[in-house]
């Protein structure tokens, strides 16, 4: 049963290796999914076919990688753009002091492969944005252990966009974990089917921001002094020069300025590490919270990959700040979500049709009831016609005369927004062949 192509010896699967996990896979339980087929098939899928992508090899990522490898996933890929910092070592247990400065993805992959025989971990040291749709298409599942809203939004939008109505394999479940101190969340996103990351964007707290007037006039906290240095003094002194929060010299400058400010107002507590924490928006990471959340994510990955038990629908939150409290609920999909909501429409038009004629056609369409639509194309983003503000209307007005064909190719898309639409409409354009 051992996978030969993993490049490891067949002896990797010793007798009894999966004894415990096989209890779950050998027989269905009372609440198992009806589609579950116990036995060798599901084991073969999990161990020899399933390909899983882990985004992030940090606090959550290390836990996730270890859990997946030990549950029996054998083809794991991991992406991380960071290198190992000494401060990671307390919880990112795949790294040792000698690894400081090396890429997290590579070191984590090597560690797992050494420790868990027969598992292949393929690292990529770089950004998720470096990879294209073809790359993401190869996976069955994606697990994210990220620390930024921006990266999650990108990953979410990419997986939602990947869904091709003609191709079942294009639908990749995304399991997203996140922690912040004693709090955490795990969620399962089935792109285009369940609520996506973007649907829930308005429930998240913004990173703490202090009123700028407090920073400028009445600082009371060391954080106020640090923000004063980074938000007001840096641009005043350095002008256009961008602050690099990874540059020790820059942090040093901010620390110096913030300390002077703190002394002036008799505020205690400005330190180098607090300065770095505030400007990089570092949230204290707690190893055990990471462990809880990573475990929840990996159990979901296992259940989704094997159908051996019902999976999370769809949002689990853990609040450990005031005892242990957790809540699981179905986050509702938003019709007006800019990523997974909105309407999509296929339109076949004459290659001779002008932009103005297209707009007329749209406004006459009974079923969508658009008034004053604005049109743009993507990749690269270009405005075709905007109804407002006046300057942009004027700038795009000459396009009304032009043919739609000049802006979109066969099969290309137009994004339509209008005040009467909850969010937007995307038009997929095909051209009728001229007689």
């Amino acid at each position: 049963m051992a996978s030969q192509e993993n490049g490891t010896s067949a002896s990797a699967d010793w007798p009894g290796r999966y004894h415990h996990i096989d209890q779950v896979l050998n027989t269905p339980g009372p609440r198992t999914d009806p589609g579950f087929l116990a036995g060798d098939g599901v084991k073969d899928f999990l161990r020899n076919q399933a390909k899983i992508l882990v985004i992030g090899a940090g606090g959550l990522g290390c836990e996730i990688l270890a859990n997946l490898a030990l549950t029996g996933f054998k083809d794991i890929h991991v992406i991380d753009m960071d290198t190992i910092d000494i401060s990671n070592l307390n919880r990112q247990f795949l790294f040792r002091q000698k690894d400081v400065g090396y890429p997290k993805a590579t070191v984590a992959a090597e560690f797992i492969m050494k420790r868990v025989p027969g598992v292949k971990v393929t690292p990529y040291f770089g950004k998720i944005q470096d990879k294209d749709d073809e790359y993401y298409m190869q996976f069955n599942l994606v697990i994210c252990g990220l620390d930024s809203v921006e990266a999650r939004r990108w990953m979410n939008a990419t997986l939602v966009n990947l869904v091709d109505p003609e191709n079942p394999d294009s639908l990749k479940p995304m399991i997203d974990g996140g922690t912040e101190g004693f709090k955490g969340q795990a969620r399962v996103i089935l792109p285009t089917i369940t609520s996506c990351y973007e649907c829930s964007l308005d429930m998240f707290n913004k990173p703490t921001a202090f009123p700028i007037c407090t920073i400028a006039n009445t600082p009371r906290l060391p954080e106020h002094c640090i923000e004063w240095a980074s938000v007001l003094e840096w641009p005043r002194v350095h002008g256009e020069k961008k602050m690099d929060t990874d540059d020790p010299e820059h942090i040093g400058w901010l620390y110096k300025i913030a300390s002077a400010r703190a002394a002036e107002f008799n505020i205690e507590g400005v330190t180098w590490s607090l300065t770095q924490g505030v400007v990089k928006n570092i949230i204290p990471a707690i190893a055990s919270t990471n462990a809880v959340i990573a475990a929840a994510c990996c159990n979901e990955a296992f259940k989704i990959a094997t159908s051996s038990a019902a999976f999370l629908d769809n949002y689990f939150m853990l609040i450990g700040t005031d005892g242990v409290y957790s809540y699981t609920f179905t986050h509702k999909k938003r019709d007006d979500c800019p990523v997974c909501g909105g309407e999509a429409l296929e339109m076949t038009i004459s290659p001779e049709m002008t932009v103005e004629e297209l707009i007329e056609t749209l406004t006459e369409k009974q079923d969508i009831q658009i008034k004053k639509p604005s049109l743009s194309t993507s990749a690269p983003t270009k405005q075709i016609y905007l109804q407002a503000p006046p300057q942009l209307e004027k700038a795009t007005r000459p396009n009304l005369e032009k043919k739609v064909k000049e802006f979109v190719q066969e099969g290309g898309e137009i994004t339509v927004t209008a005040s009467t639409l909850p969010f937007n409409l995307s038009l997929r354009i095909s051209y009728s062949t001229p007689a």
């Binding site: 939004r153 869904v163 109505p165 400028a216 006039n217 990523v339 743009s376 993507s378």
Partner: protein, 178 residues
């Protein structure tokens, strides 16, 4: 592997395929084309193809700043609307809530920003600052102090600064509409 596709087949929206335009881009297009601005506010796009960087000029038609034209730069990043737009006054003006570097003290630009707010709310908020300057949240302390202590002198200073005058050693930009 769970049969997700069968779940999808049951959905009405089975034929959905979304464009690659970033959520931020779509949202900005929507915000901009639905701006509902009074004649006292005007946007200007140095590069009409770039919706993420533009200026807003406010020409108050009442209040102590009447007769001036105040310009703010807007810079929107790809994490909009999670992140608020970055707004700065491009002129040196005498205003309790705007400092000499152009930083603006408006709660919805920082601590009270929410993704449900939009560019229209920010612009209306900015205009409000010119109708009702707020001495309790000062960024220009001198101006705020003057405003609460000696209102007549403050009004004088506002008029003087708008003509490009010098107040307590600070040279202000002339913002009078010709």
């Amino acid at each position: 592997m769970i049969k997700i596709w069968s779940m999808k087949k049951n959905e009405d929206a089975a034929s959905k395929k979304k464009p690659k335009t970033s959520a931020a881009q779509i949202r900005v297009q929507k915000d901009l084309t639905e701006l509902d601005l009074p004649s006292t506010m005007q946007t200007h796009f140095p590069d009409p193809a770039d919706l993420l960087n533009f200026t807003l000029t406010i020409t108050p038609d009442e209040g102590m700043y009447k007769g001036g034209a105040f310009t703010f730069s807007f810079a929107i990043n790809t994490n909009y609307p999670h992140d608020p737009p970055k707004v700065k006054c491009t002129q040196t003006i005498y205003h309790p809530n705007v400092d000499l570097e152009g930083n603006v003290c408006l709660n919805i630009l920082r601590e009270d920003w929410k993704p449900v707010l939009n560019l229209n709310s920010v612009m209306v908020g900015l205009q409000y600052l010119f109708l009702e300057p707020n001495a309790d949240d000062p960024l220009n302390k001198e101006a705020a102090l003057e405003m609460s202590k000696n209102r007549d002198q403050f009004l004088n200073n506002v008029r003087n600064s708008m003509r490009g005058g010098n107040i307590k050693g600070v040279q202000y930009d002339s913002v009078i509409v010709r």
